[in-house]
Assembly symmetry: C2
Homo-oligomer: 252 residues x 2
Amino acid sequence: MRETDFVSGFARGLKVIEAFGETRQRLSIAEAAKLTELDRATVRRSLLTLAELGYADYDGKFFTLTPKILRLGHAYLAATPLPALLQPHLDLLSERAGQSASASVLDDTEIVYIARASQRRVMSINLTPGSRLPAYCASMGRVLLAALAENEARAILARSELKQNTPNTKTDPEELIAEFRRVRAEGYAIIDQELEIGLCSIAVPVENDRGQTVAAINIGAPAALVPAAEMKERYLKLLKETQAALRPLLRR
Amino acid sequence: MRETDFVSGFARGLKVIEAFGETRQRLSIAEAAKLTELDRATVRRSLLTLAELGYADYDGKFFTLTPKILRLGHAYLAATPLPALLQPHLDLLSERAGQSASASVLDDTEIVYIARASQRRVMSINLTPGSRLPAYCASMGRVLLAALAENEARAILARSELKQNTPNTKTDPEELIAEFRRVRAEGYAIIDQELEIGLCSIAVPVENDRGQTVAAINIGAPAALVPAAEMKERYLKLLKETQAALRPLLRR
DNA sequence: TGACATTTGTTCATATATCGCACAGACTGA
DNA sequence: TCAGTCTGTGCGATATATGAACAAATGTCA
């Protein structure tokens, strides 16, 4: 791509949008400039543009995003048939299992939720489509990373911040690579409180009719109710049935 | 705002992202140019920028959005405390009612779902956070429009495409304005298959501790199971309880 | 099939808009 | 009061948008 085929004003603006998040609902010009490492004048122009277009509100001091910004992400959710296709199957799966069921895809080092059917909220985290979790310590992440060529998975792990979330969290890249091999061989991944104490989950890949992994689905359950050792016997069959039902629907 | 406080390259890029949706998962440069009414050369630069940043894939002919684009909408969902605050209450509400419960806010003529707890899928439409429905014919939309000053509501109706979705759909602005008055007086709105045949819903406003309406919550049910006439006696009390539980949590 | 008409992606020159810096004024808190 | 931090602005250097031009791909009709 040539230098002039890149609109840096657009790229800078997207960076400004991403600066909002978690604890940053309201941003002043200076704060946004620090977070994005862009010039204050540039950030100011981007923010004023967002406000002018109705994507942000401005009270003269702070900017906040408006729900209009959801149109952008929604362009993807509406454009991709995957979420809509998966949703009814997740609903059924969730009901049969009596636990939350979710679907996600991989975006670099993170998994992105694209659909979810929740029973009761067991996690401290609020997960909705668009939510992200580190791939290395999530059951769906393990499944999605296991589907990659080993050097690719290794490269992603190298980019990941392998954080010890709980005493159970596996953070050794070699141990993780070995686990990916097991996942590939056996077709599922189980997480025993590696992300959050008290939470277990089991995931399988969603494959299209050519056998390519296009997403992952999982069932999450409180460790207090369902010990990790029981996850497989309780839920693997249900997950495999959902997987089988989806495969013919996913043509490439 | 001065002329130079607007980054048109950014605005154009956002327009390009919004061109994706529903039936437009894959766009060629020329298609995107038509949809956005921008020059082909300009659209090409925006799309190549999106691809360069990983927000889009490009196979040499068509562009598709990647899940990374969800980071943008997620910036709002994560930044705003409202969805996370509402979710557990919706879960409880949905469980007690045995039906889907949702929350939404108003974005011009549309309501935008910001949280949802689904029981079984009864609608043909797949609703997730970020999904949009026309406000004038949705129960939450009626509640949110009723919360506005009457001239504002009138202006929004004037901008709305008042479509006759079903034989039940109210499309006369004056009739709708009168309905808003009733909603304001009685504190709830009921929709009897105005959006889709077979679907009823009832909504109430979510108010902060100053009594300002900040969102709406609803319960949807199949008309076959719950006739519109029964919606009030079955669900209004539950909705009001949720509303009361939320009010003290919403400080401005 | 072949000739012709459209459509599409790409490039280019140049007029135009944006960027980042430096500075001024406003505000805050010690 | 004064230092520190903030927002807003003017300006030259630099980057981008535009519309026309062109080649390649695609569609159309006899």
